[in-house]
Amino acid sequence: MNRIDKTFQALRAEGKKALITYVVAGDPGLKQTVDLVLAKAQAGADIVELGIPFSDPLADGAVIQAAAQRSLNRGTTIDGVFDAVRGIRTQSQVPLVFLVYYNTVLAYGREAFLGECKETGVDGLIIPDLPYEEREEMVALMDESVHLITLVAPTSEQRIEKLVRDAKGFVYCISTLGITGGGAGFFSGLEAFLAKVKSQTETPIAVGFGITKKEQVKPLLPMVDGVIMGSKIVDVIHQSQGDSAELDAFVRSIKIEFE
């Protein structure tokens, strides 16, 4: 059981759902990233997704692309992100999940990357371009300390059973046909989709992609174990130039929906 598992276990015990929020490491700077993650955790984020910026984030929409580009322009490195994790871990045990493109992992070296995750205290990896069919080359190297998070999409259909069979940590249910940041609105069969996923797994499920308004949150909660907010948070951070207090206020405004 790592921090993710423990968090869901604790929430479940209280009948509560997880608020999972996203932040692009290094935007506006790695020092702020540490503060922002801490602020989020303080404000009620149950799990934090930390995006490692990549030049070609093909699962991301314009907001996250731009944030990643700003971060790269500032010279963010993978080691720098691990250092930020170390910084967070000195003050918080909030579960941390990397959103990382597969080429970043390959460039760092798979073993080395996993070693650093373990050492610095990263609990999970979301690798959007490593689908089920290709994951074996990562899974083979992993143990229980870091989870490779499974993504399930509205188009997964018959694949769902297979995908979620060994899911660890939580299942990431994609709520739209599209990339992060949405705009297209939820997939019309969302409810049935979530129910189907839920029915196939014991692992907690979380829903994300395109959740930008707090009004969207409450209706989702009965169907899932957690809700993920990404682009909107990245945007709040960007608009406030990385101000922790503003982020704190925003996260709290969302967190209310979970009470």
Binding site: F54, S55, D56, P57, L58, A59, G61, A62, Q65, Q69, L72, T77, I78, Y101, Y102, N103, T104, V105, L106, A107, Y108, P128, D129, L130, P131, Y132, E133, E134, L151, V152, A153, P154, T155, S156, E157, R159, L163, I174, L177, G178, I179, A184
Partner: protein, 393 residues
């Protein structure tokens, strides 16, 4: 499970959202790739519409000028829309039609694949959107206008380097978004499986024709086949039929841009490291952090930071040999072929000619080189003019 890799290369490194679409495509392709009716329809359009077979022209002028091996040019420049790209597009669009798709998207760099896709889509009555980097839109204005005349929507892409790499990202993003009714027409032997294999199959007609034509003309196989390599589709298209002929050397020519040492190049095999981009594992130009570094070439069709996975495998197996030539060498070769044989090659194809200009003189008069002249250079006239004026130097 279907085979999705060439050795360690290839695969399907894509978001879950499009995995089902890839499987659907794979199933359809497996079904139709040997379906006589489908192949007949494809063959009909290649002959009547594309204008195949393209000649295998003995380049008397260049041969004389270089004074070594006999040089034959496979004239893909004579195809409808001016490059080899249309062979593949017709195959994919006919497949899309059989799959019941009514909308297609494509990425484009030089614009040739975009024009080809817009063309085929007009012919077959499909809705077409082409993603194109803003820098390429500038460089290839002629092709943008052609696509628009053909009824396609050209979507400018302003992320990243604003070239082919980013147009591909954006096309994939759009596909994720519209996967249910949209067919993604990839323009080279890149992307997730089954694209690299399928695109190669839709281009292999080039080599099949060339092999037959050379046997007719000379009664023997060539000593080497030479083709430029962007993603690698024209090269795979001409290599494939000769793969089993071990005596035939296969040579792919990458764009060395301003010189490998300057860092401004597109030589993914020469300088790349294995990584994952656009759904495939292959050689990629990237920095220490795994970020893709911008490829550069005077030729918009070559400045792609990766290479098709089958090429990566051929390189690893040493079945094919990959070399590179600079912008300057390519422009010189373009000029040379204009003057020696009255043929204005595409800047991409000029890279293959440039390497021939180094190789042929070292060979004897009874040796034979076959070059894939993948496209015509009309589209590049502005670029060449600007280059000559030094604006690009």
């Amino acid at each position: 499970m279907n085979k999705t890799k060439f050795g360690q290369f290839g695969g399907q490194y894509v978001p879950e959202t499009i995995m089902n679409a890839l499987h659907e495509l794979e199933a359809a392709y497996r079904h139709y790739q040997n379906d006589p009716e489908f192949l007949e329809e494809y063959g009909y359009y290649l002959k009547q519409y594309v204008g195949r077979p393209s000649p295998l022209y003995f380049a008397e002028g260049l041969t004389k000028r270089l004074g070594g091996a006999k040089i034959y040019l496979k004239r893909e420049d004579l195809n409808h829309t001016g490059a080899h790209k249309i062979n593949n597009v017709m195959g994919q669009l006919l497949l899309a039609k059989r799959m019941g798709k009514t909308k297609v998207i494509a990425e484009t760099g030089a614009g040739q694949h975009g024009v080809a896709t817009a063309t085929g889509a007009a012919l077959l009555g499909m809705e077409c959107t082409v993603f194109m980097g803003e820098e390429d839109i500038e460089r290839q204005a002629l092709n943008v206008f052609r696509m628009e005349l053909l009824g396609a929507i050209v979507e400018p892409v302003n992320s990243g380097t604003k070239t082919l790499k980013d147009a591909t990202n954006e096309a994939i993003r759009a596909w994720i978004h519209r996967v249910e009714d949209t067919f993604y027409v990839i323009g080279s032997v890149v992307g997730p499986a089954p694209y690299p294999e399928m695109v190669r199959d839709f281009q292999k007609v080039i080599g099949e024709e060339a092999r037959k034509q050379l046997l007719e003309a000379e009664g023997c196989l060539p000593d080497a086949i030479i083709a430029c390599v962007g993603g690698g589709s024209n090269a795979m298209g001409i290599f494939h039929a000769f793969m089993a002929d071990e005596a035939v050397e296969l040579i792919g020519v990458e764009g060395a841009g301003k010189g490998i040492e300057t860092g401004l190049h597109a030589a993914a095999i020469a300088e790349g490291k294995v990584g994952v981009l656009h759904g495939m594992k292959t050689f990629l130009l990237q920095d220490q952090q795994g970020n893709i570094t911008p490829a550069y070439s005077v030729s918009a069709g070559l400045d792609y930071p990766g290479i098709g996975p089958e090429h990566a495998a051929l390189h690893e197996q040493q079945r094919a040999n990959y070399v590179s030539v600079t912008d300057d060498e390519a422009i010189d070769a373009l000029n040379a072929l204009c003057l020696s044989d009255g043929i204005l090659p595409a800047l991409e194809s000029a890279h293959a000619i440039a390497y021939v200009m180094k190789l042929a003189p070292t060979m004897s008069a009874d040796q034979i080189l076959v070059v894939n002249l993948s496209g015509r250079g009309d589209k590049d006239v502005h670029t060449i003019a600007a280059y000559k004026k030094g604006e690009l130097q």
